[in-house]
């Protein structure tokens, strides 16, 4: 019933099955480092020109979170739908392969040692204001990533660069003491290029100016956002949609309900709401990239969780499949990893390292001498985490532990998470899936050095450093080593990964999600 689509086919036609997906062209890896003439950005996705003609109209889209233009440089659920419509990135990560695809960059090259990185910027691109894009805008944007107020998860990476300069009108050079690539592509994916002249307007959304295929027209906070086609878009392939209307519907059921004729695309529906559309021919459900992970963090300094056996036991005690079945209605995959399973160096064994084995859990608990131990779990009060907790609690009781949960209101939980202080155990929710593992280990609060698990042995940092400076072939073994170390230490159990579940009408074609789950509508059309 749920189609697994990382991108929409542009072959057209109705009733696309999995065959159509697999047979369709992918966002391909045509661009290699230092590659020659790259094709023109997203337009290179091979969009037939003819397709655009019948596909006008305004796309009506519903999402649960409000837009946050102020936080455009940070990963925010409310921005995923429009970030790449209003702005363009230098590169985006391919939804299938995870490889960078040039957009505003035409090509890039890395020095031998990887410490210097040059990006050439597409010429003839103008902002919605009419001003041409220059290397200065790119430098400005990257500098903004560093500013703490902008809350970018990529800030530590960019701060590590020794210099960011406009080495030519259309070239930016970045130097660093550690290899810049490949993690720079994570930065470039998130750091969409801003217009330095109108940056202040982002704060209240009064002026949101980018180079993207759509212009930001009107935002009513908490209610709606309207985009209009950018007639001066640089791509040779015309943009089909006249505009995009985004409705913000905070109630998930209501949002799902909007699918009944009021919108064409619903982003991030909950699986339990998706049940409504079982067998409905007018609704197609899509599992997209950009999964969420649900960590169960354990404070390694708080007894009895200072026992590794006990921490491991907890990993074996949890019935991940039941969580997926009952909380997520079968959408999601059990995974013990903090990154996508297609990262180089990831093995099947690692993904399923902790499987449901209550016997083994009991045995480990006995070995740790922790039978009947009370474990206080702080749970973020954000659906569906409390529901997951109910199963976790049940599972832990089954193996003879005594879990006591406290559901914390989001703001309070986040405060604890930022401060790295969440108590004995905690259930979090993390996004950013699709960025490279090397980036995630420092970006995810559960994993970064000041993590609430208080897990910070020297070896952990060393393994992270090894991964982050690994170039090319060295990356896979470095990640495998780090992953195995983290799994063994069991300071943060990932319970599962769930893909975002989107719903669309069959009429809507050509929608693309990139590797981190951001939406791209430049090739979309409504021509059912």
């Amino acid at each position: 019933m749920i189609k697994k689509l990382y991108q929409m086919s542009y072959l057209g036609g109705n009733g696309m099955g999995d065959a159509a997906v697999s047979g369709s062209p992918k966002i391909s890896r045509r661009h290699v480092l230092g590659g020659t003439a790259a094709l023109a950005g997203l337009a290179t996705f091979g969009m037939p020109v003819a397709f655009a003609q019948g596909g006008g109209g305004t796309l009506r889209l519903a999402q649960g979170a409000d837009a946050q233009p102020k936080n455009i440089l940070a990963g925010r659920a409310g921005n995923n739908s429009w970030r790449h419509q209003v702005f363009d990135a230098l590169t985006v990560l391919d939804g299938e392969t995870g490889e960078p695809v040039p957009v505003l960059a035409t090509d890039w090259e890395s020095s031998e040692d990887g410490l210097t990185f040059k990006i050439r910027i597409r010429e003839g691109v103008t902002f919605h204001s009419g001003r041409p894009l220059t290397a200065d805008d790119v430098v400005f944007t990257l500098e903004q990533v560093k500013v703490p107020e902008n809350a970018s998860q990529m800030a530590p990476l960019v701060r590590a660069y020794t210099s960011i300069t406009a080495s030519a009108p259309n070239e930016v050079t970045i130097t660093s003491e550690t290899p810049v690539a490949p993690r720079i592509f994570d930065v470039l994916q998130l750091a969409v290029i801003l217009d330095k002249d109108t940056f202040a307007g982002l704060a209240d959304g009064s002026q949101v100016v980018g180079t993207g295929p759509f212009k930001w027209v009107e935002w009513i906070p908490g209610a709606s956002l309207r985009l209009e086609r950018n007639e001066a878009y640089w791509s040779e392939t015309p943009v089909a949609l006249d505009g995009v209307e985004i409705s913000i519907i905070t109630d998930s059921t209501a949002m799902a309900n909007a699918m009944r004729g009021r919108v064409d695309l619903v982003l991030a529906m909950t699986p339990r709401d998706a049940i409504m559309f079982r067998g409905n021919p007018n609704v197609e459900l899509i599992e997209a990239p950009g999964a969420q992970i649900f960590p169960l963090g354990l404070n390694v300094t708080a007894a009895p969780l200072d026992s590794k056996e006990l921490r491991q036991a907890i990993g074996f005690a949890i019935d991940r499949q039941r969580i997926i079945d009952q909380v997520f209605n079968g959408v999601g995959t059990p995974s013990c990893l903090w990154w996508r399973s297609n990262e180089p160096g990831t093995t099947e064994e690692m993904v399923n390292h902790y499987h449901y084995d209550p016997e083994k859990a009991r045995e480990l608990i006995a070995r740790a001498g922790a039978e009947g131990a009370e474990i206080n779990i702080s749970v973020i009060g954000l659906a569906p985490v409390p529901a997951i907790y109910e199963i976790v609690q049940n599972n832990l009781r089954e193996v003879g532990l005594n879990p006591v949960g406290t559901v914390l209101e989001t703001a309070a939980f986040d405060q604890g998470q930022t401060a790295g202080d969440l108590g004995q155990a905690f259930q979090q929710i993390h996004g950013l899936q699709g960025f490279s593992a090397a980036t995630l280990v420092d970006a995810l609060p559960a994993l970064r050095d000041t993590n609430p698990s208080k897990f910070a042995p020297e070896r952990y940092r060393q393994l992270k450093d090894a991964l982050q400076s690994a170039q090319g072939e060295a990356y896979a073994p470095a990640l495998a080593e780090l992953g195995e170390f983290m799994l063994d230490e069991a300071f943060s159990h990932i319970l599962l990964q769930t893909p975002p579940l989107h719903a669309k009408t069959p009429q809507l074609q050509g929608v693309v999600w990139d590797n981190v789950g951001f939406l791209h509508l430049d090739a979309a059309s409504l021509n059912g």
């Binding site: 959304g205 905070t250 109630d251 703001a411 986040d414 405060q415 993390h430 970006a443």
Partner: protein, 314 residues
Amino acid sequence: MLAFLARRLPSVAFMLLATSIIAFLLPRLAGGDPAQTIAGADATVDQVEAIRQQLGLDQPLPAQYLDWLFGLLRGDLGTSLITNRPVGQLILARLGSTLELALTASVLMIAFGIGLGILAGSVRKGAGRFGLDSAISVLLATPPHVTGLILILVFGITFNMLPISGEVSILRDPVTGFSLLLMPALALALPQAAMIARLIQARMMQIRQEEFVDFARAKGVPRSQIVLSHILRNSMGTAVVATGIRIGELLAGAVVIEAIFARNGLGLMAVDAVTSRDYQVVQIVVLGAVVIAVLTHLFSEILLAALDPRIRLE
């Protein structure tokens, strides 16, 4: 009337001042702050601190309060910390939705309340009386959110007559808009209507005992006219005051109803503002609600005075 207003002014002003302090302090007492919300779940300590300074949250509380208060006196409702939009603008954007709901609910409430009240006040014995009394009791005891859920179960699920949640402006699509509005408005209106009905019924029963009703009978006035000119006319004051107060309650009840029926109104905005610690918005919403309550109260008193010559001429 001016004298009446002048007499009420000091206590109203005092109330609003007290409310402003509570509204200011309450969200600030809660853990977490808007800086955290803006910085996001993944933020680091320095990011949150930088934002906190940017928002001026590092200022001492009295300074923040006075700043806000003087702004208010100048007519500046403040700026949302989260969206950076003027709070007034944010409210205006959501007002339509809540107004649609509140107005529809008010109309339903007044219609049902007064209708039921008059009926219950007129039917004095037999099964009809028992039925009306029971109906009012049941409606009275069931608050809006439960009424809403029952309506969803009955009309949304069992009979599948009405869509259960979501919102479309009536102005944009009257049919869909109204069908989405009907259940929440009913849910909101029914308990309040029952309250009004109960008050009108009691008042009518009481007026019925008054000597002037007997005197009217002794004058040879027909029953129907007695009910109309004497009993009902004298019960109107109660109805009006009750309605005034109930409209205030109705607005308060709208919050939960908006949550259940997923209407993107002021109520939901208030809840969002509290959870995201958007102090400026919370303050205005709370203060605004009290102002509305005070105003509806005042207005109904003025209306009552207009209806009752004894008060009018004082």
